[in-house]
């Protein structure tokens, strides 16, 4: 919302400076987006009279001008073709900055002739791109006057952002009212008395809208103007519109725009002679269209409110008039429309057709329900004053919606909600200046809401009005304290787990990534997703149209991008959401990671090797262990999902409960994702980790054996497909009391081994608890181990 300082002062009697006003506005909720003070930039430019312009003796294209600046005569060398004796132009004395070029103007000698200033073009003044010649001012312009004042550029322009609730501030008067309430002046009275009509309007309303609540067009007011003289608006009106970025068109159109910006009341002026019969307002019929004033053609649907005549539709209600019936310079009879349309319908229509207009902006935020009357009167007074002619009586359809309402405001509520004891008298004064009718006094007052404040709908709104004007600065700063003696954790066990997972993985040399929750449908399908319920109706792009079923595709895609930048060896993880379905339960938090390329860069110790499934397994197990999951009890099954290498992947589980998948990523998936391998991945289901049983902080008692443990190695010949885990478990199970650890240290197949067999070697630790092991004990337990392994794996002890 743009306005100028002088415009504001039409409504506000004030001595406040521009700076004071601009400092106060944001504290009232009217955020200042910009201030343009052209007078400041143009202060040094004055109106100059060219006493004499003669040909430069040494340059064909230059003229030497003697300029009367009102106080002295200055010689200026000028290159403009239109510089001539007797003209008035804009003179810039040496030493000032030229706004259009940003360069400081210096005294100089041009081909032997002194030049002590400049006559300026519009481009040099920063006013337009015009640079064919210097600005020519009318002959009656006073010599030596400030150019900014002469050109109407000395009125500072203020641009403020209006929040959606403050429709009343979409007119300059609303802003003035807030400033007056804040003590920055007095709101001047508005002349709203009725303009009597001197004839009957030949045009009437024919409103044919379906009934609904709220009504689609509760109040429509029209007025016919006969014998008006259209043409350019007076200078002041054109200046004002230009200052806020509107293009002056003709007096009749400019008046409607002016009233809209001044009072927030959009109007439409039809050329009455182009209207055939009465004007109808109805819902559009399918296929109807019109050419709007913005030069574009719009086609309607049957939910849009349109306005037209016997020739057809030529107006989109509350949004934009039509080209056919609009006013032109030759308009002599005019029909003015001031209506209320349903804001919801107006917004929906505007959105569907994507038409943006100042009128729509105001209609959809809600107009003062009384405004058709006073709006048409104020516009009528301006039309008669500027364009002459005579006005008809009003033609009215419908009536004012019931807007009257009152709320009780308790003084204790102001204190209770804001913490500030705004004095009662001040609260009442504030509300009254804002237009509320206040009755009563003391603890409870009754406030009747003015028609322009549709946003105020309860006591809390009244409190807001009072504190907003009284000033948020008066609210105390009351620190919030934590009064728990025993600290209450801010995080739930699940949240703690997620937080810990990130630090654990980062400490394992992995880099944390945060990636989008959406992927392409193609990627979703690769990772077991693709359900329609998770497809975005309005994705930002086709490759971000599906909620991700796994974190892996976004991580792998990131690996691909990094590889393209020359960084192929990566360890990335994300602890984040994936979506099994669209319900809240379908959203799961996983810790997912990938490693690609080599484990390390090439180095002199030859430590680097290609990443493999065991890197991912180590990551998953380390994470689970850190989170307190019973990793040592877990089994590994070779049934990871389809996006893993079928022979080099597994699932860590306890019975039916899968805790994590790990393994090499399926080469086909890598190919589809355009990622070069090798790549390994793990996915840990954080929610599956059991919460620690709450037995208090005390640990179980540690019992250390005083007896030395004994280590024994065994090598077994087993079938090629025998899982090592089975053998290890068999060894562990041989004597649960004595065997404390069984670690696989060698796997060998090939030369020297029978066909289809491999050798698995384990190191078993025997930890006695009651007495030192004797040779007989050792012999006995070794036999048990060999027997158990043989029983469970058919493995034979190698000699």
């Amino acid at each position: 919302m743009k306005f100028t300082l002088s415009w504001l002062k039409d409504h506000l009697e004030t001595t406040a400076s521009l700076e004071e006003i601009c400092e106060r506005l944001p504290m009232l909720g009217l955020e200042v987006e910009g201030v343009e003070n052209r007078a400041k930039d143009l202060a040094e430019f004055i109106v100059g009279y060219v006493i004499e312009a003669r040909q430069h003796p040494n340059a064909d294209r230059l003229r030497v001008c003697i300029v009367d600046t009102g106080t002295e005569q200055v010689q200026v060398v000028c290159g403009a073709p239109n510089a001539r004796t007797g003209m008035k132009g804009v003179f810039a004395p040496a030493g000032i900055r030229i706004p259009g070029t940003g360069v400081e103007l210096k005294k100089g000698v041009l081909r032997g002739e002194e030049s002590n200033g400049m006559l300026c073009s519009e481009r040099e003044m920063g006013l337009s791109d015009e640079h064919d010649g210097i600005i020519e001012l009318p002959g009656d312009t006073p010599i030596g006057a400030k150019f900014a004042a002469v050109a109407g550029l000395d009125d500072p322009m203020i641009d403020i952002a209006i929040t959606p609730d403050r429709a009343d501030c979409l007119g300059v008067r609303g802003i003035a009212r807030d400033l007056a309430a804040a003590g920055l002046g007095t709101l001047k009275p508005l002349h709203t008395s009725a303009v009597p009509g001197s004839c009957k309007s030949p045009i009437n309303w024919r409103v044919e809208l379906p009934e609904q609540d709220p009504p689609l067009a509760p109040l429509v007011v029209g007025r016919y103007f006969r014998g008006v003289k259209n043409g350019p608006s007076p200078q002041w009106l054109r200046d004002r519109l230009t200052a806020i970025g509107l293009r002056p068109i003709s007096a009749l159109v400019d008046i409607t725009n002016y009233v809209m910006m001044d009072l927030g009341r959009p109007l439409h002026a039809y050329d009455a002679d182009k209207v055939a019969g009465d004007i109808f307002i109805r819902l559009a019929e399918p296929g109807e269209k019109y050419l709007a004033l913005d030069g574009k053609e719009y086609a309607f649907d049957e939910e849009m409110i349109v306005i037209g005549d016997d020739h057809g539709v030529d107006d989109l209600a509350g949004i934009m008039g039509g080209e056919r019936s609009g006013c032109g310079d030759d308009t002599t009879n005019m029909f003015l429309e001031a209506a209320i349309f349903d804001p919801v319908r107006t917004a929906a229509t505007g959105r569907k057709l994507n038409v943006i207009s100042d009128a729509r902006y105001r209609f959809e935020r809600g107009l003062d329900p009384t405004s058709p009357y006073w709006g048409s009167d104020i516009a009528a007074r301006m039309v008669l004053e500027i364009c002459g002619g005579e006005a008809s009586e009003l033609v009215v359809h419908g009536g004012e919606m019931n807007w009257q309402r009152s709320y009780t405001l308790r003084h204790s509520r102001i204190i209770g909600l804001t913490g500030v004891a705004v004095p009662e008298t001040d609260a009442i004064r504030i509300l009254r200046t804002l237009g509320f009718e206040v009755t009563g006094s003391g603890e409870a007052i009754v406030c009747a809401v003015p028609p322009w404040r549709a946003d105020v709908i309860g006591e809390a709104d009244l409190v807001e009005e009072v504190i907003r004007i009284w000033g948020f600065d008066h609210i105390p700063n009351t620190s919030m304290t934590n009064d728990h003696v025993v600290p209450v954790p801010a995080l739930t066990p699940e949240q703690t787990r997620e937080r810990m997972a990130k630090r654990v993985l980062a400490a394992r040399d992995m880099t944390e990534a945060v990636t989008f929750s959406f992927v392409s449908a193609k990627q979703a399908v690769l990772f077991g997703g693709g359900a329609d319920a998770l497809r975005l109706v309005n994705p930002i792009s086709a490759d971000l149209d599906m909620m991700r079923p796994s974190i892996l595709p976004t991580l792998l895609a990131a690996a691909g991008r990094n590889a393209n930048m020359g960084i192929a060896d990566l360890a990335l993880f994300e602890v984040g959401p994936q979506y099994a379905d669209a319900t809240p339960e379908g959203q799961q938090t996983l810790a997912t990671g990938i490693r690609t390329g080599q484990t390390a860069p090439r180095d002199w110790t030859k430590a680097a090797r290609a990443v493999d499934a065991f890197d991912a397994k180590a990551d998953a197990m380390a994470l689970l262990e850190a989170l307190g999951a019973p990793v040592t009890n877990m089994q590994v099954s070779a049934d990871a999902p389809s996006w893993y290498h079928p022979g080099r992947s597994g699932t860590l589980r306890l019975g039916a409960n899968a805790f994590a998948h790990f393994g090499e990523v399926h080469p086909k998936v890598l190919r589809e994702m355009d990622v070069r391998g090798p790549a390994t991945a793990f996915e840990v289901f954080l929610a599956k980790v059991p919460e620690p049983r709450s037995k208090g902080p005390a640990r179980s008692l540690l019992k250390l054996s005083p007896f030395q443990p004994v280590n024994r190695d065994f090598a077994f010949l087993v079938n090629m497909d025998m899982p090592a885990e089975k053998l290890i478990r068999a060894a562990l199970g041989a004597d649960r009391k004595l065997v404390s650890q069984a670690r696989l240290f060698d796997e060998y197949a090939g030369k020297g081994m029978p066909e289809g067999k491999k050798s698995l070697a384990i190191a078993v630790t025997l930890q006695p608890t009651d007495a030192t092991l004797t040779d007989e004990d050792l012999e006995a337990v070794s036999k048990k181990i060999v027997a158990q392994v043989e029983k469970h794996t058919a493995g034979v002890l190698r000699a």
Binding site: G29, L417, F472, A490, L536, Q587, A607
Partner: protein
Amino acid sequence: MQGKVKRGLSCDGPLCAFDPGDAARVRQGGKLVDEMQDAESLKLELIGAVENASTVDVLEELRVSALGRKGRITEMMKGLGALDPDQRREAGQALNRLKDEVATAIDTAKTTMGDAELEARLLQERVDVTLPPRPESRGSIHPITQTIDELTAIFCEMGFTVAEGPHIESDFYNFTALNIPPEHPARQEQDTFYLPPDESGTPRVLRTHTSPVQIRTMQMTAPPIRIIVPGRTFRSDHDATHSPMFHQVEGLVIDKATHMGHLKGCLIDFCRAFFGVDDLPVRFRPSYFPFTEPSAEVDIGCTRAGGEFRIGKGDDWLEILGSGMVHPKVLENCGIDPNEYQGFAFGMGIERIAMLKYGIPDLRPFYDTDIRWLRHYGFVPLDVPTIAGGINR
């Protein structure tokens, strides 16, 4: 080396316990006197041999020849049995002393020689210590995580707990319950992502803010409530300053007495703690949000003097968050009586405050997973923000 050994033998240490008095006493017996003289000369001979030994092996030979099972001292000790008890005692003591002295001399020489040999070997084992160590890569924590951990630490001090909620929401939780009716302009401005409706035809959306968790919490929990809600949010915007996914943190306090003074105190304290500026100016401006009444936008002081942006006392303001007293209708929508309970809510962009605090210039790289960016702007894994450890390092 040799000098050291000599010095060791002539010093006041245990090797010198053989004083002249002993010899005089021993000389009083005939055979015993011979023995003693033998011992004395043997000592001189052996010590001389130890001094002249050139390797550990020679020393070992010496040890065996003197102290071994058939060594000379051992043999002499065997001869003690022939003496009468008094003499035996006296001669035994002398021989034991001799045995100890020779053994000590050999050990000392061995150690010294061993040290020299070890030193010579170590010199040969020298490596180029300027070679790099075995390669290790460094993990890092994303700035979003770090920032969430920081603000959690600060709000935890004020008694807040962390709540979370689903990203796929019904439009009731995302809009309607928050006093944003379907036609509301605010609803249009949010560029909502839509998903197909559920079985009952209710539209599903990706939450446009973390505020739905306010509703879910108020429905599930009786006041007093004091939560923050960090999490992912989604809006259909994608340009240099907007990302279709970003993070917000929401705050909600509901009880019987919390007023705008607490809102101000809480947020001023937060801003100062988070940015680490004690006297950071914080300004509250009236604004509008459908779910709060009164509503306030919050600015922090900053300066752009000299082309350098800095947060703190300055001539300019920077908007960082929205807040307000929870709208009575929102309380009602959650089954909380607005005549009994009240409180405040706030919301801010996590990327925004992270960018301001850590001087990160652009939004979009947060999600690009460019390893170079993550390594540069990321955090050391164990740098866990705590109040105790400070959150402004």
